[in-house]
Symmetry: C2
Subunit: 516 residues, 2 copies
């Protein structure tokens, strides 16, 4: 057995059985090992940003890490933005990065680079294996580290550690270290604040936004009278009819300040202090009032679910307490012009049962939640690290992680251009992903940002830098080029019909929603 | 004047007047400054790999750095692979990476990351500005450092350094430090080796492969009887009829070993010792014989052109010595099936006068040079750092750096998928780039590499990881989607006609050459 075969067997023994790949020469023995060792599902991406973003989507739906197989420093670099997103959202991920053979690194060759430094810029754990017999132990470590609350583990494997003999064979799985348990006195202090006389809010992020925990959190809010909020960006939320409709902090500073203006005491459970996404000249960069007290109950290295259960217990609520959830009527599809609201209303009305809704709609999606509370029950995934180009890969990986569930992917056009190669993987794997391009032919969010930083009348060159209309992108042709059928629509009625038709067909479909 | 305006004025004063951009919120003031300060040409790329690869192509054609404008760590990460290529090829480049405002970095926000660590993994010089009034001085430094023999200078600019007042205004240009002059005794020792009795070779890389220096190097070879070789990967070579036809070291180990087998003494002028691109089990990783003596005459921090002139002088050759160059007859376009040779012969035969030929044809291009010595005089650019996804951005930047010259871009299909967004920029800027996709619907090079590492009979899953045929990529649709007209051809005659038609039309064109 060589090092590559020991690696694959170790990953399988550690319950890691999906590998998103874009291999090169230094990874050829791993590719060969995938044949000789049965059990690993391999999914090819034609760009590494697809590979890492898909691993993120897979992890969000399964709670397990996938492996990525990447080609030296540039391969990791290409995948870095979506590793960054996954890290911010605490998705577990095991990156396997091929490196030159140990004895070849002495030479200045084209692909030689400092992979460890690069990996350190985007990973929670980095290790370079030095010999074939150590690869399996290192791989078991990588999986364990990735599982500790959702971390990025990057294992750098010189090519000779793959092809040399590994006499010890595969390694036993290593148990992840348990998450920190939040101390009882902190939980009790938080409970006192939430039920106390001052206007309190509980802000969530992480797994407590998924059922059954988001319902428990809502029951806590109903019991104490506190407000319940979600951080602006979250990895996954249970939403739709029958689920709580938790409000997220808005992106726009003025809206966020207004939304949080009445809070005297803010208890953070998995959420970060609500700073603005960016700073702007002469604007506050904390979204609560200056005299609002912040209480960091549980951070992202803590066991958030245990903390939520303890909080419920401190409030005399059982862990299976269910909140009162208001009936929300289904929405009808919209009619008329295809503005953002019409798109969101129509997508909401026609969302398939048990769907996964991936959202990289950027500026067009700011009003999404006012609609999707009325949708069928679904999971909601969004970009967590602010790096665009996440959506299409995320939808790809979510479809693989949640087989049988339809995926609807809301995509801004500017963001979709970053990783459009994901469509090819959707076609190859015949994934049931319906992509809706919100085609406004601009970096619309940046047109707003230019005003926010104080530029009131941008000149022609600034406008050009933020415009995608010359030439206009023809999304149906791009989809066809990668084997995905598609249709352009310019009315809400046509969008509705396209969504109905996409539901009736297996495999991926793309709808270009041409906004006015 | 704010920091952003002082920056733009400083860059212009330092003779840097092209900026490839993909900006975000943290760069909005720079975008605004591009309007208020005239003189900077801004070129938008819809993915950062396009931006950095275009800056590389521009630098290769002009010898000057362009600026890139990138959005925080993920933006730099997306551009990293082509920064890596540029660094290996010693193209000067000034990366301007926006960062959160200094006082905003205290918060955990989605886009916060360690940009300096990431930049350190791909740059020769990294600096983070701390205040608006220092930005112009830092920018002048960055340009100077980039110009020192071709380096990557990365300047990280917190957003408040852009919007705050910069009372000192723009900075004066800073003179780059001179390159090292190789000592006379080393030059004389090399001259003795080259004209000595043992079989010697002079191996070049860098600017000495461009006229008039490649002709001087050839005159030296003719005077001394030594062989003249080029490193396997080079940033730019003057080639075609009337220019020397310098042989590059082959990629395949057995071919390289054979090509270099007769060399007893190898003098390196800008070239690295000829190690193989990758190591393979049980194969040597140095391409010369074990008893061949290596002489590192001039490294890449030395003044290679001065060294070559000194070497000529030591051999009593004037700096304008011209070699005897054999007449090479033009080739006729090929007929029949579209294998790699037929494509290369046809492209050679129909190469437009004074063209720039960008080559990312990977496995299909190994025999390119046996044809293009017969082409019209042209410049030849290739991938220098082994990171695929370089070709289309390189062609884009070369077209901007060499206005009026036609660009022909030979592209492997697998590599083209990495940065296909470059086509949109070619359409927007109406660049005269003709892309020929060598569509073999596979990572063909990796199918060979799998054998080279000892896997003789890959199984079905390994084959799937290296195949692009399910679904087949429709390149004409992809081009149309980004505003570039195109045509698929499946015979050499049809390829020839498409090349002729493309020459007759302004703007970009794409030809999908469907290989059998």
């Amino acid at each position: 057995m060589n090092g590559a075969q020991a690696l694959v067997r170790t990953l399988l023994a550690s319950d890691l059985d999906v590998c998103f790949t874009n291999p090169g020469t230094s990874e050829m023995h791993f590719v060969a090992a995938l044949d000789s060792v049965p059990g690993m599902r391999c999914v090819l991406g034609l760009f590494e940003g697809v590979v890492t973003g898909a691993a993120d989507g897979y992890a969000r739906m399964t709670g397990k890490p996938a492996a990525t197989l990447l080609h030296l420093g540039p391969g990791l670099g290409n995948g870095l933005a979506n590793v960054h997103n996954a890290r911010k959202g605490r998705s577990p991920m095991v990156n396997i990065v091929g490196e030159h053979a140990t004895y070849h690194l002495q030479y200045e060759t084209p692909l030689r680079s400092d992979i460890a430094q690069l990996a350190g810029a985007c990973s929670d754990w980095v290790h370079t294996s030095t010999d074939a017999d150590g690869v399996s132990r290192d791989a078991a470590q990588a999986v364990a580290r990735a599982r500790e609350g959702g971390r990025i583990a990057t294992l750098i494997l010189p090519a000779d550690t793959a092809w040399n003999e590994a006499p010890s064979g595969p390694a036993e799985p290593i148990e992840p270290a348990p998450l920190n348990r939040v101390a009882a006195d902190r939980v009790e202090a938080a409970a006192r604040i939430l039920r106390g006389p001052r206007r309190a809010a509980l802000m969530l992020s992480g797994p407590v936004l998924i059922e059954p925990w988001v319902s428990l959190a809502t029951a806590i809010a109903q019991r104490t009278g506190c407000r319940l909020l979600a951080q602006q960006s979250n990895a996954r939320m249970s939403r739709g009819r029958g689920h709580p409709d938790v409000v997220r902090v808005p992106y726009v500073v003025a809206q966020a300040r207004q939304a949080l203006a009445d809070i005297d005491e803010l208890v953070l459970l998995g959420a970060n202090p609500p700073a603005s996404f960016f700073a702007y000249p002469d604007q506050p960069n904390m979204m609560v009032r200056e005299d609002c007290a912040l209480h960091a109950l549980a951070g992202r290295d803590d066991d958030l679910v245990a903390c939520l259960r303890d909080l419920a217990a401190a409030l005399d609520l059982p862990a299976d307490a269910r909140p009162t959830i208001a009936d929300r009527a289904p929405l009808a599809p919209a009619n008329g012009a295809l503005d953002a609201d019409a798109i969101m209303q129509t997508v909401t009305a026609l969302l398939p049962e048990n769907a996964v809704l991936c959202d990289e709609s950027v500026s067009s999606g700011r009003q999404l939640f006012k609609f999707t509370g009325h949708a069928v029950p679904h999971d909601y995934l969004q970009t967590t690290g602010g790096a665009i180009g996440c959506g299409a890969p995320l939808a790809t990986g979510a479809a693989i992680g949640a087989p049988g569930r339809p995926v609807v992917s809301l995509q801004a056009d500017g963001s979709m251009m970053y990783t459009l190669q994901a469509l090819w993987t959707q076609a190859r794997e015949q994934l049931n992903v319906t992509t809706v391009i919100l085609a406004n032919r601009a970096y619309r969010i940046l047109q707003g940002e230019l005003r926010s930083v104080g530029v009131e009348n941008p000149g022609e060159r600034a406008r050009q830098m933020l415009s995608l209309d010359s030439p206009a992108i023809d999304w149906v042709s791009l989809a066809r080029g990668m084997g995905v059928p598609g249709r352009a629509v310019d009315s809400a009625e046509a969008l509705g019909q396209a969504l109905i038709d996409a539901r009736g067909e297996p495999g991926p479909f793309l709808i270009e929603a041409r906004m006015p």
